[in-house]
């Protein structure tokens, strides 16, 4: 099938990909640096073509609860926001996870805490992969490193969400949201007419009633449900780990980085290799499930690992767990909307890993 070539911002790619993936509904609230998603959809008017509903909600709180309602009808629905708005959505997200509803949430991360800055950051890693809201649950977390992946992960995200009846988050950042690159767009998918058997669509005489809830007052039953979730997360860990390796075969040292940081680190690998330092890059594409096993295997072969993130050091904790003390693991990060430069990464590799 012919894929259409466009030059687009990451945010626009999300919007266009959602229309093409046959999304049924989008609910959002403006916040920089992702407002282009809602703006693009309002300009594109998919409600006149595919019938996709697009609505500007009065708040993120409302938007995520609209997603809950739409998802519970078995529809392909999504919302997007940036860090402060995602924090506001956490209540809704845990209810969605607790009711096992499929949906897509995009976080175009900006620096925090609090109102912070509107510039790019990766400081919402913990929130995205360790929970965010209350209770024992996980999102499937995809980390795009290009505008192409912003588009691709919309479709992938919806597919995973429905396969596992689980919310999926695309954890992006302001840089990828705002930058333009070439993107090959998939042809339009029809909006699905299938109705999942659990969806609340009105009870026909042929089935018993469907109830979407996250409540179980009986602790034994709630624990059984928690165990079911654990089994689901384990299956996801087994089947859905995704990562990309860049010059790892002969590497003496390893960089681990996702998203924008991974793009920076690709250049760092080139720079370091020009100086004769054999470095490789492992780029996690899924942050939950995390490519722990692969990192453990690589840890047997390299002399040290540098985790590079636009945060105070969040993913590095998962790298440390994966490496389990086999080699030195250090963190290098910029914060507050600053992006590490390729040169800085090489310097830190030298000072923290090679020299250290």
């Amino acid at each position: 099938m012919e894929r259409e070539l466009r030059l687009m911002k990451g945010n626009e790619a999300v919007a266009e990909a959602a229309i093409r993936a046959g999304a049924d509904g989008y609910f959002g609230y403006p916040i920089t640096p992702q407002s282009e998603i809602l703006e693009y959809l309002m300009e594109a008017k998919p409600y006149e073509t595919t019938g996709m509903v697009v609505l500007q909600a009065e708040s993120e709180l409302a938007a995520i609860n609209m997603v809950y309602g739409g998802a519970a009808c078995g529809k392909k629905v999504m919302t997007t926001s940036s860090s402060p708005g995602i924090s506001l959505k956490q209540e809704g997200i845990t209810y969605i996870a607790g009711a096992e509803l499929p949906c897509l949430i995009v976080n175009v991360v900006r620096g925090g805490p609090g109102l912070g800055t509107i510039q790019p950051a990766q400081s919402d890693y913990f929130q995205a992969v360790k929970g965010g809201g209350h209770g024992d649950y996980h999102l499937i977390v995809l980390a795009p490193a290009s505008v192409q992946e912003m588009a691709d992960f919309v479709e992938l995200g919806f597919d995973l969400a429905f396969r596992y009846r689980n919310p999926v988050m695309i954890l992006s950042d302001g840089a990828i949201g705002q930058m333009m690159e070439k993107v090959y767009l998939n042809p339009h998918r029809e909006r699905s007419k299938d109705v999942p058997e659990w969806a609340t669509t009105g009870k026909p005489p042929t089935r018993s009633r469907n109830i979407i809830t996250s409540l179980d007052l009986d602790p034994e039953a709630q624990e059984r449900f928690n165990l079911k979730l654990v089994a689901k997360y384990n299956e996801i860990r087994e089947k859905e780990v995704r990562y990309e390796e860049f010059q790892c075969d002969d590497a003496d040292y390893l960089l681990v980085a996702y998203g924008t940081s991974a793009r920076v680190c690709q250049k760092s690998v080139q720079l370091a290799r020009m100086e004769g330092i054999r470095v490789g890059l492992l780029r996690p594409i899924t942050l939950f499930p995390f490519p722990s096993e692969r990192i453990s295997v690589l840890a047997d072969r390299v002399k040290g690992i540098l985790s590079v993130e636009m945060s105070a050091g969040q993913m590095v904790e998962d790298v440390l767990l994966a490496v389990n003390g086999k080699v030195t693991v250090k963190h290098y990060g910029r914060m507050g909307g600053m992006i590490p430069t390729p040169e800085e990464v090489v310097e830190n590799l030298r000072s923290k890993i090679i020299g250290g």
Binding site: P30, T32, E39, E43, Y47, S59, P84
Partner: protein, 263 residues
């Protein structure tokens, strides 16, 4: 030479007709040219000075273009999360009931994400002042539709004009809060002409004084412009406001306490 001495003679305290209020800091305002926020700040600063309230004032700034308001007025401030200023102010005023407590909020902040906080604070009759800047748009995030965007008005998320069947109707929050038993003084003003600036100042002065009566929420809407978000020059935006915003949001008092009974 004679001319220079002339100027010196004129620059004397007794000849002063207009001066910069000391409540405004030296920080350069972060607003676009022609934006109404600056004028509203100025009036508020003058009143705090004239009423001698610097040591009593606690302001709550919103999320919106006026998010940095705390840099501009030399008083104590709290910066609230988007839409939550009335909740924040509720606690301040309840814990410090003799202070002058106010929020300053845009329409997205007050009438979209903060609707619940606004209505419930007013309904409880919290004894602080809400200053509500209604420019019909989300200025800070780049001109998206606000709850106050009038029918047919273009914004970046209503690029073909606000279609009320799809996007809902504009929300007249001031009219709504005027119906609540908890509000004490409710008025709608504007700052787009010198005469209106004067009127607004008068209304705000009353609101500040009423705030100390502790008899309910005071609510002052200021219909304003956003040349950047509206994609107009400042002059065009003033004209557009007069022709389109003011017929939809007519100016005037909506609820005034009885001066004699104070009720």
């Amino acid at each position: 030479m004679a001319e220079v001495t002339g100027i010196k003679e004129i620059i004397k305290p007794e000849n002063l007709v207009y001066k910069r209020t000391g409540i405004m800091t030296d920080t350069v305002l972060s607003y676009c040219p022609g934006c109404g926020h600056g004028t509203a700040h100025r009036i508020l600063a003058e009143l705090i000075e004239e009423e001698g309230l610097q040591s009593k004032a606690i302001g709550v700034s919103p999320v919106g273009c006026s998010v940095l308001l705390y840099n501009f007025l030399d008083i104590d401030w709290q910066e609230a999360a988007h839409g939550r200023a009335p909740a924040v102010a509720t606690a301040i005023k309840r814990l410090l009931p003799d202070r002058f407590v106010f929020t300053y909020q845009g329409d997205g902040d007050l009438a979209a994400i903060g609707t619940a906080e606004t209505i419930h604070a007013c309904n409880r009759g919290e004894n602080f002042l809400i200053i509500f800047i209604n420019n019909g748009i989300y200025g800070m995030t780049g001109g998206q539709m606000a709850p106050t965007t009038i029918p047919g008005m273009k914004s970046s998320t209503s690029p073909f004009g606000r279609d009320v069947r799809m996007m809902g109707n504009p929300l007249k929050m001031t009219d709504i809060v005027a119906t609540l038993p908890g509000t004490y003084y409710v008025t709608r003003q504007s700052v787009h002409t010198p005469a209106n600036v004067k009127k607004t100042k008068r209304a705000l002065r009353k609101a500040i004084q009423y705030q100390f009566h502790n008899k309910g929420t005071c609510f002052v809407e200021i219909v304003s412009n956003c040349p950047s978000g509206w994609k107009m020059t400042p002059v065009e935006s003033i004209r557009w406001m007069e022709e389109n915003m003011l017929p939809f949001y007519p100016l005037g008092d909506m609820k005034v306490p009885d001066e004699k009974t104070g009720k």
